[in-house]
Every structure is written in C-alpha cells, then in structure tokens.
Subunit: 243 residues, 2 copies
C-alpha cells in the first residue's frame, strides 16, 4: 500500500487547498487533511504555519497548499493538480495533453488571482477595509470584462474539445479546478456571475456534471468540504459585485 498523501493547508478557508482536495477526493486516494486535524494529532494551523514560515524539513516550499508523501514535498496548486492528475488518471495520458490540462489549470489560477485581487488590490497584507477605495476601482473591470472573458474562453475550449470536458477524453484536474472557481465566482459575485454565465451554457453544464459525480457529491455533502466564507479568496462584498 502506498504511503497516504498529506495535505497541509489553512483549516479555516477553502482557498487554494480546496482545489487539491477535489482532486484527492475524485481520485479516491486516502489522504490526511493535516490542517483540519486536532492539534493533539499534530494538526491545526500550527502544522501549516511551518510551511509558510519556511520552518520545515525537506525541500523548501514557498507557501501552502503543500502535498506531502513520504519525502516528497510539493507546493503550488496547479503543480499539485498536474502531479496528482497524471498519477491518478485525472489527466490526459500523453505529454502534450497533460501540458494542455496544466495550461488550463494555470488559466484557472490566473482567474483566481484576479478574483482575489478585487478585494485586495493593494496588498494581501492589508485588511479589505484599508483598501476599499482601490477595490471599488478594480472590481468593476473584473466583473464586467475579465470574468466574462475567462468564462467565454472556457466555453470555447469545451466546444473545441467536444463539449464534455476541458482536456482529453475524460474528466481531468482542470475540470475540477474550473468547478471550484465557478463555485467561488457564484458565491462572491452572484449578480455578475449570473449575467456573465448566461452566455456560457457549456461551462454551467460542466459545473453541474462535476457536482453530480458520485465521489464529488459525497464530498460536497460531507464535513470535509470547507464552505466559502469572508476570509478566503472568494468573498461576497455586494459593493464589488455588478449592480
């Protein structure tokens, strides 16, 4: 039996860790979500902080999420998705197809950064309340221009690839990543997302197909799923949404 994976990520937000969890859940591979374990079992925020502060053994990582398996320490959400996807049949089998799925996951990561920066345009180290003026300048461009551009892009990719999945012939980590990003956008920008996604029925249908996959549905209904909240990447500030 292979060593189970360990995920290190902040316990109180879905954040980027959630992109990794979805891949682990769909892969049906055992993993310990260390940040969400009690401190008595070596879990909690303290276990995660070490990977933020550079105070851990082994290959240095820049920031959580971190995937650990034995001696392997891997950071960067998209790299983890690519690695797990290629290992667990959640990526195309050929080199070029794997690179395409990775590029799609990276485009999703770009979308996630831009969504985050609507509420933190000046610095992730300042409170939202201290950059609200700048946020109100940045958000309309994201909601009105960028989010639609991203959604329309994924719609084109789906259509080009036959309509069912973003890359290859079956579900990949990129589809799971898009699902999570769509959930986040719908949470954070209910009005803007509803308007933008009207023109991307294929993207909306993919979101529902992912949601209904047995393992994903079971996960979403479980306590393992971390709900969106006002601490994470996707936050619902009505003043930043479309009118």
């Amino acid at each position: 039996m292979p060593t189970p994976y360990e995920l290190y990520y902040w316990p109180n937000i879905p954040g980027r860790g959630e992109f990794v969890r979805l891949v682990l859940e769909e892969a049906a591979t055992p993993y310990r979500d260390v940040g969400r374990l009690p401190a008595e079992e070596g879990g909690g925020t303290a276990a995660v902080v070490a990977f933020w502060a550079g105070k851990h053994e082994g290959h240095p990582v820049f920031a959580p999420p971190v995937l650990k398996q034995g001696d392997l320490l891997l950071s960067q959400t998209a790299a983890i998705g690519h690695f797990l996807g290629s290992r667990h049949d959640l990526a195309p089998r050929d080199e070029a197809g794997q690179a395409q799925a990775l590029a799609l996951q990276l485009t999703i990561a770009d979308l996630v950064v831009e969504a985050h920066d609507t509420h933190h345009p000046v610095s992730a180290w300042l409170y939202y309340e201290d950059q609200q003026v700048e946020a109100r300048r940045r958000a309309p461009h994201f909601v009105g221009e960028r989010m639609p551009r991203f959604l329309q892009y994924f719609e084109r990719v789906l259509r080009h690839n036959g309509g069912d999945v973003l890359a290859g012939k079956s579900l990949s980590h990129a589809d799971l990543g898009l699902f999570q990003a769509l959930e986040g956008l719908a949470y954070a920008f209910p009005r803007g997302f509803a308007a933008a996604s009207e023109e991307t029925p294929g993207v909306l249908a993919l979101r529902e197909r992912v949601r209904e996959r047995p393992r994903i549905a079971a996960y979403l209904a479980s306590e393992r799923r971390v709900p969106f909240n006002q601490e994470g990447i996707f936050r619902r500030y009505p003043e930043l949404d479309a009118d």
Copy 2:
C-alpha cells in the same frame, strides 16, 4: 527532422515571451519568433493578436505567449517551460522532480505577477499614470517584504539542492526563469534589488552562471534578445523603488 517550434508573443516587450525564448535558446532547438518577423513573412503584432482575441484555428488559448508545433498549441508560460524542459533535457527526468521544477517556475510566475502589479495595482487595462496613487501604496510592500521573501526562498531551495541549480542535478527551465526574473527585478528596482539580494549570494551566483552559459551568452548578445523597457512587466519607475 521535427517540425520547428513557433513562438507567438508581442514583439515590443520581453514580457513572458522572454521566459520561453530562454528555454528554446538553451535547448538549441530551432524556432521562429513569429511576432518579431516582418509582416511580409506572416509576422508582427497582427499574428500575435489572433491568439489574444481568440481568433485562431485549433485548441483555444487564453493569451500569448503561445508555443506552436504542428497541431500543438500551448499557452501559459510555466506550462510551456515544463513541456519544453521535459522534452529537451532542461528538467529533472523523474515525475516528482519535474513537478518540483514546475512548482518553482510557478513561484517565479507569482513573483512576476506581483512585480507587474506594483505599477498596475488597479487594472492592467489602465495606464500607470491613472493608478499612480495606488501603485505608491502597493510597491513598498513588494519591495520591502515580498521581493526579499521570494529571493530568500530561492536561496533556501538552492542551498537545499546543493547550491548549483534549483531542481535536480543540472540546469532546468526553472533556473532560466529565475535568471529572467532577477534581470527584471534588477532593471525595475535597482535599489531595492541590490539591498534584498545582498542576503542571497547563492541566487546572485546562479544568475551569473546562467548568464555565462555559452548559448545564453550568445543569445543575450544577439538581436534576438528583447531588452527591458517601460512597456513590459518590469518597468523602472524610481518612485516605486526603495529609497
């Protein structure tokens, strides 16, 4: 003979295209830098715009840079680096090592985004002059906190890996990416970079080793190299640099 690669990127800035060029040059593989060819040969900005506007044949891409080889169209700088690196002996050979190099390249990409956003904190679609107030709020945090954190991280990675290269036993696309990012930081923030890099001698030594590699040295001395300028990711605005 394999079909030569084509790179599609804006001709007037180094930008993210330069990260791809360095890998192609070190790989000593033939490529056409289409954006920099004359319009009569199908080159120039018009050839690149198609990949920005979604008006091209084949697999949809979100934005340049784009690598094309026959039917293959691949976007996202880090995915291109990973793909070319794995093919051309500029990445570790094992799956885990390749994922590590990719994670490093992605951390470099994060650094690049943060450097860019010092001068475009509100929107990449507004002029710098229209977001100068916000830029002056964002830049000090990057110069004083984030840039040093990134440099110290790469210093730790180098030390952990034996001092010569970031990943594996020989030069990878991640080392080339770090070289370009360092060149950009030194251009954009001469004072801040000098101060921050005083504490990262290993990183500075790697930069020089990359610069002196025969193929890279020949490239840097050629007209193929696109110099930094005030249109790209890395811009020299003295008011955003350290005092």
